[in-house]
Symmetry: C2
Subunit: 354 residues, 2 copies
DNA sequence: CTGTTAGCGCATTCAG
DNA sequence: CTGAATGCGCTAACAG
């Protein structure tokens, strides 16, 4: 019923092996037979059976991309860039396909998807976004990545810190990390506020127990310390990376300290949520409170006032991950590259009016 | 080297068939042997070989999702919802994986990805967003979808109109369409402006030759006609679905007619670009010009002024597509459902001040 | 309920 | 440069 290699071979009056060679293009074939085969393929509308060839060749052309939430532009931009890069690297037989998996930030789902991708014998796996800080999960993840890597799957961590090496073995050579300088970016952001005279700065941080949250908080605290501002735990609240959390966080932060003059948010969506909360309470940004975001997603420039934020090279990171995965780019020395995080000062922050 | 079914079978002292049955869970197996097998799987850390089982079973657990641009939240939201729904339908052996493909709106790439998915023997394919209106491509697409469908791949069109039936055959029964009421939404939107007294309304439309663009323009024109406003071709410009196009479109529209009192945009991003252009020229929204978007992406509520727009049930559409694909939802009667498009009046539109 | 027997469709040896 | 033979790892009848 469905046409196979053998059918094509018969029609082109060659052996199946020859057809296979023509299609893979990785072996010399006489020009005449070659075109004869190609014509037969056309006429029969033959389409290779992917699973069969993956089985025989012991490798597939699937690349896994793990994200927290596809609907979040942060991940959409990264995943889109990775995928774009895959299609740019049209290999011999065809090109690689991106399998996108949303983990929702759950370490269990992360592991489960990795198993699913392992089952598919994925050519590569790209893990994006923050990782769980739970030591047990970190261990399980390291083990799983080592296994994947051992099976020939390339692994790229994109926008997350290097995976802690397992006690026993060295991290596999096929493991590359593209980290964001979250700490540095956060530090520069808070330093900017401190320089503007802010001393009571609320922090609407991301979910607890995630590397990105930890890094950004560390940068924030370092800047506070550098500015001689005492650590005030009650000025930090944790929440999800979304608008609603930002709204709630702002309300809660003001409840705890009505004298706040600024709020740094976990990301742009959270910042906009915070702005909305302030607006609803009759507070103006930045006259009454400064608000800052993180990531510089496209919409943050269109908010009013435009959001001061930290720009992360999302697209570049994804594209690089894609090139790493397709072998078109050499891994950075040591397998680790840290990507710049650039402070973008816009309208939502200004000097503190006490 | 890599552990196979046979290894597990040997360790559990059963036949390979039994192991297979335990793992697929679609056949009765004694509880004792079952747990014995499961233990062996654990101990050996066995992971099924996907390609092998796909080959033998003649079906894979991959679901293709075609989008224009993953970085655009419009598609991120839909794709995310589809994928989420796939993971919710944990089948016996595991769950389905989403293969996301960005076509960039190119009909050629669309066709090429469909072939790639056909090669993977995908269980289903979801095509999202607008389609090309080119008759030749429409024909090619219809043929390709028929072939996929004939091979047992379910096909869902999500957010695009029904594919024109091929002259010869009826559309396959496994083809379901979830269309957005773009025309109705656009009509209500423009009618809203007309009701506010606007008569010189510019239109920053989407790319020419795409179904979504055509539908929204048709709605727009219908509302104009209903309001007794003459068709003015120079008041419509075409561009991409992004912010930059919106900026350019606004500039061009004002150049052609400086007396415009409103602009309806192809989508929210275009609308925000238009707003930025107006702002740069010292025009206020909505006092000097009203501006309206389309889609109601999350950020459009945070713009200032908040965007009047048409809400499309993106998440719902994606989720439904996902359920259709996993067979958890019955196709609508006739294989076609049209999803509501709801007018959302916010701050960016107001009465016309001539 | 379980084991045996055949392929699934293709990529690779190895000969020629 | 081409063909014949072998097996990738698993599922699906078919018996028992």
């Amino acid at each position: 019923m469905t046409v196979t290699l053998a059918d094509v071979a018969a029609r082109a009056r060659v052996s199946a092996a020859t057809v296979s060679r023509v299609l893979s293009g990785n072996y010399p074939v006489a020009e005449r037979t070659r075109s004869r085969v190609l014509r037969a393929v056309e006429e029969l509308e033959y389409v290779v059976n992917g699973p069969a060839s993956a089985l025989a060749a012991a490798r597939s052309d699937l690349v896994g991309i793990l994200v927290n939430d596809l609907a979040d532009p942060f991940f959409g931009i990264i995943a889109g860039a990775v995928q774009e890069e895959l299609s740019g690297a049209a290999g011999p037989g065809g090109e690689q396909l991106a399998v996108v998996c949303s983990t929702g930030g759950s370490p269990e789902r992360e592991l489960r998807y990795l198993t699913l991708l392992q089952r598919q014998r994925a050519a590569a796996v790209v893990l994006t976004g923050s990782a769980s800080e739970d030591p047990e999960h970190a261990r399980a993840l390291t083990a799983k990545l080592a296994r994947l890597s051992g099976a020939g799957t390339r692994v790229v961590l994109c926008g997350r810190p290097a995976q802690p090496a397992s006690p026993a073995a060295e991290p596999p050579a096929t493991l590359t990390t593209l980290a964001f300088d979250n700490r540095g970016g956060a530090q520069r952001l808070t330093a900017h506020l401190v320089a503007l005279g802010h001393r009571r700065i609320g922090c609407a941080a991301g979910p607890a127990g995630r590397t990105t949250t930890g890094e950004r908080l560390a940068g924030h605290r370092a800047a506070l310390a550098a500015g001689g501002i005492a650590d005030a735990p009650h000025r930090t609240v944790h929440g999800a990376y979304d608008r609603a959390s930002g709204y709630d966080a702002a309300v809660e932060l003001l409840r705890r300290d009505a004298g706040l003059t600024a709020i740094v948010a976990a990301n742009d969506a959270v910042a906009l949520g915070a702005c909305a909360a302030l607006r609803d309470r009759g507070l103006r940004v930045p006259e009454d409170l400064s608000v800052a975001g993180f990531d510089d997603l496209p919409f943050s420039a269109d908010a009013t006032p435009a959001l001061t934020t930290v720009r992360l090279p999302l697209r570049e990171a994804g594209a690089r991950a894609g090139r790493l995965v397709t072998g078109r780019e050499e891994p950075p020395p040591g397998g680790l590259a840290t990507l710049r995080a650039e402070l973008l000062v816009r309208g939502s922050t200004s000097v503190a009016y006490p």
